[in-house]
């Protein structure tokens, strides 16, 4: 995704990697999350990114994508990867339990009983983001 020069290809590669993440969720028996991942990312976020790309269309799509500090950024991200991997190997997890099937009923029940207040706050956040996006995108017309 970060290597390609064509931005539409970059978004399609991002979709591929997000669906791969959904496959990993299936592999660790989190089917509900895989479903949510495909619905929200594949159906929502990729479309929004494509809209953002098309509404800001310029003829510099095939030009240079990286800024001047890309070698520094590459070094920093590689160093971060080495650091995280070293810290993972320094304290290896042991005694994995076999994952059990987390069924939809359990998730829904605990989402609406134990996690009801965070659920409501999440819906409030979505509402605020919706209104804020409309206000930010519209108020440019007056000035």
């Amino acid at each position: 995704m970060v290597g390609t020069r064509n931005m539409v290809h970059a978004i399609l590669f991002l979709l591929g990697s997000l669906i791969g993440v959904a496959g990993i969720y299936v592999l660790v028996f989190a089917e509900f999350l895989a479903l949510v991942q495909i619905l929200i990312y594949g159906g929502g976020i990729i479309i929004v990114l494509l809209f953002a790309l098309m509404l800001t269309k310029r003829d510099e799509f095939h030009g240079r994508m990286e800024n001047a500090q890309w070698p520094l950024a590459a070094i920093a991200s590689l160093g971060l990867f080495v650091l995280i991997t070293a810290s993972i190997f320094a304290d290896p997890q042991s005694g994995f339990e076999k994952p059990i099937h987390a069924n939809f009923t359990e998730i829904g029940r605990s989402l609406f009983t134990k996690w009801a207040i965070p659920f409501e706050i999440a819906s409030l956040i979505l509402l605020i983001a919706l209104i804020g996006a409309i206000v930010i995108a519209r108020s440019g017309e007056e000035d």
Binding site: A10, L49, Q69, A133, I136
Partner: protein, 98 residues
């Protein structure tokens, strides 16, 4: 452990995308990759160290919700920026520098 290494790799690719790209939409995509890496990490730990509880999955759902809200707001900001400056190149957006 494999999930953690995968998550670290995805996070670092996202960090590179955020740090090195010039287009604001590509930076947004880097942020999405980083959020996904965090979700993989959460799910890995939740499934293998707390198989009975739903904690990891539910927090991952909230992370996905916040990611969706963030993408919507960022799209609005990018559109506003494009209308004002007719560019989404973050190198040219230096009005807050002094």
């Amino acid at each position: 452990m494999h999930l953690q290494i995968l998550s670290a790799a995805l996070f670092c690719i996202g960090v590179y995308g955020v740090l090195a790209k010039r287009n604001a939409v590509l930076i947004l995509m880097g942020i999405e990759l980083m959020l996904n890496a965090v979700n993989i990490n959460l799910i890995g730990f939740a499934v293998f160290s707390d198989p009975q509880g739903m904690l990891g999955q539910i927090i991952a759902i909230f992370v996905i919700t916040v990611a969706a809200a963030e993408v919507g707001l960022a799209l609005a900001i990018i559109l506003r920026l494009y209308r004002k400056r007719s560019s989404v190149n973050v190198d040219e957006l230096d009005i807050m520098k002094w």
